[in-house]
């Protein structure tokens, strides 16, 4: 397309066929003069508007995007705009964390008879976009490689499971094992500091079981793939929430699952520990207490305070174990709710919009699209059918540009809206350390604000908020154009 004339900006409208498109027709019939910037894409229903279309437009050069549908309760299809309202409101609040001015996106309701209202909506929105001027282009923005502290002041201990408790757990698993295909746990990996998943299928496997603060993998990731098998799983509070979320979504079956629950005070942040440890050849010994981690590395004794290396996500733990355990071990009273802001989110909050976009731009230069973030996410249930890689639908070009990489990160984040249980695996497994958990933490914050403190994975009976609606939304005040 040729560049627009100087006085026009690129504004994309998604209008539902039944109400707003008709309203725009009515405005036309009434010869209601309007600015010429807006280009309308006709969709059957505002509920058809995937928020990703809006982001695609904004990342590809739109200066403004407007979605308009039937008034709530007036949807041609009954409930489409109720869903749209939730999703679009989440989207609008999500934009700032990406560095996109939320004023560049708006959604509203215009009925087929409201030609005048449509004229007002178009005129006002166009005016507002002109006031903002052309949108900054993600690929052209100055990268901002800002150094910041990712550590979070922590007083909390980390988990140490006593040998007695571990034996108790092993015994319980051994008792159950004959009726199970396998039990998911952890074991020592390449050295004592690095734990890896363990698939317990025999008593022999069971001897390798380890459940301390080095065990960071969220084993729930494996459950959907094991559907049809009878599986046991060892969970702590964060894994338990992932289990609950998958149960809510019907992706795993409760009957096929035996849940062994352990208390947890916190986990070690291995990437930071590795950084502090530096390059080493051999890790010879490890002693872990709730407060101290002693390592012997290449013959040298190294001592770390665990509080300095507690995972920041443990600072946001809701504490309480969701009620899904079949068998619980140990004392859960030490698990207290803590609701601090994740450091990566606090950092992004401290930046202005332009800086945020520059920051993500710098991050995306490092992203190699290895998809470790996605594939380690227990909630990324699309698995091999992720739209980021499919050719039909063709959401993304194979070009490894910063824009395409960013769009992938946006897909991943938005698909987690209202579903992310905050385990932080995405970020923990990023080889280049991108703070992508901030996107999810921000979405979780939005969802909590909009839907009465909703937290994913806490209530097995809850419906994820973006998969339902209410006719009157207590916390969504749609944009009024009066």
């Amino acid at each position: 397309m040729p560049a627009l004339a100087n006085n026009e900006l690129r504004i994309v409208g998604f209008l539902c066929n039944w109400c707003s498109y008709g309203g725009a027709d009515t405005a036309g019939v009434a010869r209601a003069s309007q600015p010429t910037d807006l280009r309308i894409i006709r969709v059957p229903c505002s509920g058809r508007v995937d928020p990703l279309f809006v982001l695609k437009a904004l990342l590809n050069g739109a200066d403004g995007v407007l979605v308009s549908g039937c008034h709530p309760r007036d949807c041609h299809y009954g409930t489409g705009n109720f869903y749209a309202r939730r999703r679009l409101e989440v989207l609008k609040r999500f934009l700032p964390i990406l560095g996109i001015d939320p004023a560049r996106f708006s959604y509203t309701w215009v009925s087929a008879s409201e030609g005048q209202r449509w004229q007002k909506v178009v005129s006002r929105f166009t005016e507002e976009i002109h006031a903002l001027g052309p949108a900054p282009r993600f690929e052209a923005v100055e990268p901002l490689a800002k150094a910041c502290s990712w550590t979070q002041e922590s007083k909390g201990p980390v988990s140490v499971i006593s040998p007695e408790l571990l034996e108790q757990l092993k015994k319980a698993i051994a008792d159950k094992l004959p009726e199970l295909d396998c039990v998911l746990g952890w074991q020592e990996g390449r050295d004592l500091l690095h734990s890896v998943p363990l698939f317990i299928r025999s008593e022999d496997d069971l001897t390798k079981l380890r459940c301390d603060a080095t065990c960071h993998n969220n084993l729930v990731r494996y459950l959907p793939d094991l559907k049809g098998q009878k599986v046991g799983i060892i969970v702590r509070s964060c894994e338990a929430r992932s289990v609950v979320q998958l149960l809510q979504e019907g992706l795993i079956s409760r009957e096929e699952l035996v849940v062994f629950a352990l208390p947890c005070q916190g986990l070690l942040d291995l990437p930071r520990l590795e950084e502090a440890l530096g390059r080493y050849q051999r890790l010879e010994d490890l002693t872990l207490t709730e407060t101290t981690l002693r390592l012997r590395v290449d013959g040298q004794e190294r001592v770390f305070q665990t509080a300095d290396f507690r995972q920041s996500r443990c600072e946001q733990c809701p504490g309480e174990l969701p009620a899904i355990a079949d068998q619980s071990f140990g004392d859960f009273s030490g698990q207290t709710a803590s609701q601090t802001l994740p450091p990566e989110l606090a950092f992004l909050d401290s930046l202005n919009l332009q800086e945020r976009m520059g920051f993500w731009r710098a991050c995306m230069e490092r992203c190699i699209l290895c998809h470790a973030c996605r594939n380690s996410c227990p909630m990324c249930v699309c698995r091999d059918q992720c739209i980021a890689e499919s050719r039909e639908p063709h959401w993304q070009s194979a070009e490894a540009s910063v824009k395409e990489k960013f769009f992938f990160q946006i897909i991943h984040a938005l698909h987690l809206a209202g579903r992310c249980t905050g385990c932080g695996e995405c970020q923990a497994n990023c080889p280049v350390g991108l703070p992508i958990f901030a996107l999810r933490a921000h979405l979780n914050r939005i969802v909590s604000e909009l839907f009465d403190g909703y937290q994913a994975g806490c209530d097995p009976k809850a419906v994820p908020p973006l998969l339902t609606y209410s006719q009157e939304e207590a916390h969504i005040h749609e944009r009024s154009w009066e």
């Binding site: 397309m1 040729p2 490689a145 800002k146 150094a147 910041c148 990712w150 990996g189 390449r190 050295d191 690095h194 734990s195 890896v196 998943p197 698939f199 993998n217 990731r221 494996y222 990437p271 930071r272 590795e274 950084e275 390059r279 080493y280 050849q281 051999r282 890790l283 990566e344 710098a362 991050c363 230069e365 490092r366 190699i368 699209l369 290895c370 998809h371 470790a372 996605r374 594939n375 380690s376 698995r383 091999d384 890689e389 050719r391 070009s397 194979a398 070009e399 490894a400 540009s401 695996e425 970020q427 923990a428 497994n429 990023c430 080889p431 280049v432 350390g433 991108l434 703070p435 958990f437």
Partner: protein, 362 residues
């Protein structure tokens, strides 16, 4: 005349600046802040700090970019006769001279491993060739091994020169730069760096010390044959990959993985146009070798992991006489679930074949 030169710690900036002046784009490791600190090869500009740490991502992208335009296509027609159209293809890419500074010998050896299929096979890949020819590799001797790397198992070591044009070794006040290839020697001779002289011996000592610090070598010489024998052992591969998440971290961080995919991506304009892209593929992904019919000869992750291991330690060696693994250990360091390629290969070497199993049971 020896081309060995001495580069003082304090002179690195000037040296690199000189290279930039002569037209090189210089890539060197730079520390990036993040939740996990990473070291990335990025274009260097005057004033930027450099790091001498081993990079998080191998510098493979300098010869095989994550995605590259093979050509642009564009269709043209006239308003008067829209049914008639012509097609233009444009593959004019300009490759600028590039210098990679302070990569590790395992990174450089990755280039040598890539060179064989891309340059020495039946077909010489013109895109790769032009990038490779424009690249000068300056590697830094590793002072020691680390917990995950194993170059010495794969037939090399912390100062192996293979793939490098220049090998630099750190000594007390700076580095000794030693020309390996003609390209490297010429560059050093043309530089204003002082001759290394006796410092070369110091560097030799440092290299020896590095070799001595390594953990014991494991013998992988039987790997090609053993892997071929257990190729059909589904149970072995399923067991080895049950924790695998099928992400692509191992292959994308790897200096030697070179599988790619080719796609056409349309661009919008008044006329129809687009690009043909070559982009990294990963054998860990379900889409790898998926055919247009939907059939995939490697439908599950076990078979795809088998592909990765067997290619590196069996089929590539059969074709080219060397492992397609430089032992950099990045796949081990960064695997989200700690899968260890060393462990899998060793297990394969000690695995009993189906025939052996049969014998034992009978």
């Amino acid at each position: 005349m020896s081309s060995d030169r001495f580069l003082a710690h304090t002179a690195i900036g000037d040296f690199l600046e000189g290279l930039v002046q002569t037209g090189y784009t210089v890539y060197c490791p730079q520390k990036e802040p993040g939740v996990r600190q990473s070291v990335i090869f990025a274009p260097w500009q005057k004033g930027l700090p450099i790091s001498l740490e081993k990079a998080t991502v191998a510098p493979k992208h300098l010869v095989l970019p994550q995605s590259e335009v093979l050509f642009r296509y564009s269709k043209h027609k006239e308003s008067a006769e829209p049914a008639k159209q012509s097609l233009t293809l444009d593959a004019n890419e300009i490759f600028t001279p590039t210098l990679l500074f302070a990569s590790r010998p395992c990174d450089a050896r990755g280039f040598a491993i890539l060179d064989r299929p891309f340059l020495q096979g039946l077909f010489r890949d013109p895109y790769y060739a032009r990038r490779r020819e424009a690249l000068c590799v300056v590697s830094l001797t590793c002072p020691s091994g680390c917990a995950t790397c194993f170059c010495h198992w794969t037939g090399a070591g912390p100062s192996s020169p293979e793939g490098s044009d220049i090998l630099m070794t750190e000594i007390a006040e700076g580095f000794v730069l030693q020309g390996i290839t003609d390209k490297g020697k010429e560059l050093l001779l043309a530089s204003k760096l002082p001759e290394a002289g006796e410092k070369s011996q110091e560097a030799t000592k440092a290299r020896k010390a590095a070799w001595q610090s390594l953990s014991p070598v494991q013998d992988l010489s039987t790997a090609p044959q053993k892997l071929a024998e257990i190729f059909a052992d589904q149970a072995f591969w399923s067991q080895a990959t049950q924790a695998c998440l099928a992400c692509g971290a191992c292959t994308y961080l790897c200096p030697t993985c070179y599988c790619f995919n080719i796609t056409d991506e349309s661009l919008d304009g008044e006329n129809e146009q687009g690009v043909r892209l070559r982009s990294w593929d990963t054998c860990m992904a379900k889409q790898f070798t998926e055919e247009a019919s939907g059939h995939n000869p490697r439908p599950d992750k076990a078979q795809r992991m088998r592909n990765r291991i067997s290619h590196k330690f069996s089929s590539y060696p059969e074709n080219w006489g060397s492992f397609s693994c430089s032992g950099c250990g990045r796949c081990v360091t960064h695997c989200p679930v700690g899968l260890d390629i060393r462990e899998i290969v060793l297990k394969a070497i000690h695995a009993k074949t189906a025939q052996q199993n049969e014998k034992e049971t009978s």
